[in-house]
């Protein structure tokens, strides 16, 4: 794999594979973190390195991992999207409701969920790009409204009774690989192409690097911002499909705090919270790193309350080490 292919536009080119080149890559630190944590977990638990457990980790990671894709786009432009967890819950609830209460075919319900996610994302995008409101406030408000609508619609109860095949998205396997894991990898691959190989991707990085300069040189900054929030809504809705498939119900209460896990994955993956620098592959590594922590600490039988403390401390440590990498 050529090194150049993985770098953000900001990285200088190094031809071919070299250790020095790899160390300079913004992926180096997340990768080292992933290896260190994996080795530690391997020592602490005999089970950790079994194929089954590793696949299990990936499956557990898939939902937040998919959400973190959209979050990466948003953060790269210098924005933030706090509404992702609530959007996922609303999209899942409505699409389940359409299937169960309105008797619509499953495929229509799933597509409707995706549409809802995109619309909510575009709503955020319009307010941020044209309304010139701070993203953190806009998406905080959307988060509240989306959560509220989901609860209103469902009365607070899960909506179950979905067609059986929906479960394929949550617990199905192709060969030994869980379907959600395949979905996640496909979405990351698409995001990589979008960010590294299309003009749109360059414009995303440019806006995060210097929005005014990008605008004055002729980048349609408002449209690009609209699009990144739309993408974030879309990936949240994809995550909703996986979640619905796994639980076989629409869950209005699902995804509380997922926005924070997604942000953590993005930042652990080496993306600058101010935007302009970062890699989608880093986010994948960040999400898996979080998943391994969860899984390993569970296998070790550590008190769940203490697990939160440990995870928080590790995130702080990682950002501290990475701040001037």
């Amino acid at each position: 794999m050529s090194h150049d292919a993985n770098t953000v536009p900001s990285q200088s080119r190094s031809t071919g594979f070299s250790v020095a080149g790899l160390l300079k890559s913004p992926l180096a630190l997340p990768l080292i973190g992933l290896i260190v944590v994996s080795v530690l977990m391997g020592f602490a638990s005999d089970n950790f390195f079994s194929v089954n457990n590793l696949l299990n980790v990936l499956r557990q990671v898939s939902i937040v991992g998919i959400i973190a894709v959209g979050m990466t786009f948003v953060i790269l432009t210098g924005g933030i999207d706090l509404s992702v967890g609530a959007v996922m819950a609303l999209a899942g609830t409505i699409s389940a409701g359409l299937m169960v209460n309105f008797g619509m075919p499953g495929i229509v319900g799933l597509l409707a969920g995706l549409v809802i996610g995109v619309l909510l994302g575009l709503f955020n995008g319009v307010l941020v790009a044209w309304g010139r409101m701070p993203a953190i406030i806009v998406t905080l408000a959307t988060m509240g409204m989306a959560r509220g609508f989901g609860l209103l619609y469902s009365g607070g109860y899960p909506i179950s009774g979905l067609p059986g095949w929906i479960s394929w998205f949550g617990i199905g396997r192709i060969g030994i690989i869980p379907v959600p894991v395949i979905l996640m990898f496909v979405i990351y691959a698409l995001a990589w192409v979008l960010l590294q190989r299309t003009p749109f991707g360059r414009h995303v990085y440019a806006i995060g690097g210097n929005e005014l300069a990008a605008k004055l040189s002729g980048v349609k900054t408002q449209r690009v911002k609209l699009a990144v929030y739309g993408i974030s809504g879309l990936t949240s809705a994809f995550a909703a499909i996986v979640l619905t498939g796994r639980l076989m119900s629409g869950q209005p209460n699902a995804g509380v705090g997922f926005e924070l896990d997604a942000i953590a994955a993005v930042v652990l993956g080496g993306t600058a919270i101010a935007g302009g620098r970062g890699l989608i592959l880093g986010t994948l590594i960040g999400a898996i790193l979080l998943g391994i922590l969860n899984n390993g600490l569970n296998l070790m039988g550590i008190n769940p309350y203490l697990q939160d403390v440990i995870k928080g401390a590790i995130i702080l440590l990682a950002i501290y080490i990475g701040r001037e990498w």
């Binding site: 605008k215 040189s217 980048v219």
Partner: protein, 500 residues
């Protein structure tokens, strides 16, 4: 009073100062002169304790000193007013002056009365009158600078470093600054004055130290030298007239851009101008006279009440610069760092950022080979000096950064380029190159609007000049009429017609 002897400074393996001397006497204004990158800023950072020298001595009043940090230098009586001010925009002048060393009453509360009194005292000494109770952001740039100077004096500075203080001032504000500087000199304060304007140095300075490429070239009294010799010391060679010849523009050259009316604010003046093919139209006027705003309004990057523009005879209204680009009008903004460059991108993407329409494969994707080839060609065309297209833009000199921004527009079918302060912060040699490039462009059929605060540049480059005052064009001069007297008269006394 102050001696810097044999100062050397290395960053890693690269030595940027090779044994520089600077000797300042009490109560003198001392010019520190050199092209960009000559080492002036590094030397001043060493003087103020921000950087530590690799070798060399700092001797103050006969004793050798080491300034471990900025605070130590301040304590020794050294004050610096940086190019970018370190004022908090939402605080008042008094609050800024006493930031982090506020005077307190016995109860530990802010002693606002004492601080205001002390601030008044210092400003009175400078013979400056400015409002003390409004946020700094509402003061003019010059007034903010006086607050910075007053802040340094409130710390008992005996040596004051002014880093390009006149770069953003209008001529009358510069006069006021000089008056303040003379007052300080009478009070025995030594001033290190950094400026690219030689005429200012002859007006205000007593002695001069010249640096070039981190080398100490020499020092002398202002009375013992002249402009030619200083320029030669700075660049190491004599520079001939740096402006290229003005070609004859045919009187019937087609009008590419006809700006029928632009009104920036309600009740303000309405401006109109025409840009002909192949000409350079200068926008002159004082800072704040509406030159940049008018150009930006035309492109939809600045609010306007009215804006009617004909491109090649067809009426258009741009909502954002991207639409200007689509019609062949490009902007090179005045602040490269804030408005021009995307510093997280290398040269390559900085140039190709608005060109992706051209390098496509399979419609959706970037053709990276073509992108690289076209960028290298554009870099060669404007003669960017850099390691290659993957070099970081923040490592380039001002002149090369400007060329990168210029190169961005070369792969388009451009008709009009708007250069806003094309040579600000660029050294003498690179200026000549930028001028030559501008004429190369007009020879190829581009038309240029050049906004500039430097009169020699306006006079030397423009085929016609629109003079701005109070938000509108007060006069358009051409041919023999383009003289500094004409332009300054219009810029300072011209009448605008306000339209409701």
């Amino acid at each position: 009073m102050l001696e810097l002897q044999g100062i050397r400074k290395s960053f890693g393996k690269i030595e940027v100062l090779h044994g520089v001397n600077l000797s300042i006497r009490g109560g003198e204004v001392h010019a520190l002169l050199g092209e960009n990158g000559a080492g002036k800023s590094t030397l001043m950072k060493i003087l103020s304790g921000i950087l530590q020298p690799t070798a060399g001595k700092i001797v103050l009043d006969g004793t050798e000193r080491h300034f471990a940090d900025y605070d130590a230098a301040i304590a020794a009586g050294i004050g610096i007013v940086f190019q970018e001010f370190s004022l908090i925009p939402y605080l008042t002048a008094v609050e800024n002056m006493f930031l982090a060393r506020e005077m307190k009453t016995r109860l530990g509360l802010l002693d606002r009365r004492a601080m205001t009194a002390r601030a008044r005292e210092i400003l009175a000494m400078l013979d400056v009158d400015l409002p003390l109770d409004v946020p700094i952001s509402r003061l003019s740039v010059a007034e903010q600078q006086f607050v910075e100077i007053a802040k340094a004096l409130s710390l008992d500075a005996r040596i004051l470093v002014l880093d390009e203080p006149t770069a953003t001032l209008t001529p009358s504000e510069v006069e006021h600054l000089f008056k303040v500087m003379r007052q300080l000199r009478l009070n025995g304060v030594a001033i290190v004055f950094i400026s690219h304007h030689l005429e200012e140095i002859f007006e205000i300075c007593d002695r001069i130290t010249v640096l070039r490429d981190g080398e100490f070239i020499g020092d002398c009294a202002v009375s013992d030298t002249d402009t030619d010799r200083l320029v030669e010391m700075m660049v190491g060679r004599r520079i001939e007239n740096s402006f290229p010849e003005k070609p004859a523009i045919p009187a019937d050259a087609p009008v590419v851009l006809d700006c029928e009316e632009v009104q920036l604010r309600k009740g303000g003046p309405v401006s109109s101008f025409r840009l002909r093919a192949g000409e350079i139209l200068g926008f002159a006027g004082l800072v704040g006279s509406g030159r940049t705003e008018t150009a930006l309004a035309m492109l939809g990057a600045h609010p306007s009440v009215r804006c009617k523009v004909l491109v090649d005879g067809a009426e258009t209204r741009f909502r954002e610069p991207a639409e200007g680009l689509a019609h062949g009008i490009g902007l090179l903004p005045e602040s490269r760092k804030e408005q021009g460059l995307i510093t997280s991108f290398p040269i390559l993407q900085n140039i190709s950022i608005n060109n992706y329409g051209k390098y496509r494969k399979n419609h959706w994707f970037i053709d990276m080979k073509q992108e690289l080839a076209a960028t290298e060609e554009a870099m060669a065309q404007v003669r960017v000096k850099a390691q290659g297209p993957h070099a970081r833009v923040d490592t380039l000199s001002g002149g090369n950064q400007q060329k990168v921004v210029i190169a961005r527009w070369l792969n388009h079918q451009m008709k009009v380029l708007i250069f806003d302060e094309p040579t600000r912060g660029i050294d003498v040699g690179a200026k000549a190159e930028i001028y030559a490039l501008m004429r190369e462009f007009t020879a190829k059929g581009y038309s240029i609007i050049m906004i500039s605060s430097e009169l020699p540049e306006v006079i030397g480059m423009s085929d016609r000049v629109c003079v701005f005052r109070s938000g509108g064009i007060v006069a358009t001069v051409e041919g023999d009429q383009i003289t500094s007297e004409q332009i300054m008269t219009h810029a300072t006394t011209g009448r605008v017609q306000n339209v409701a």
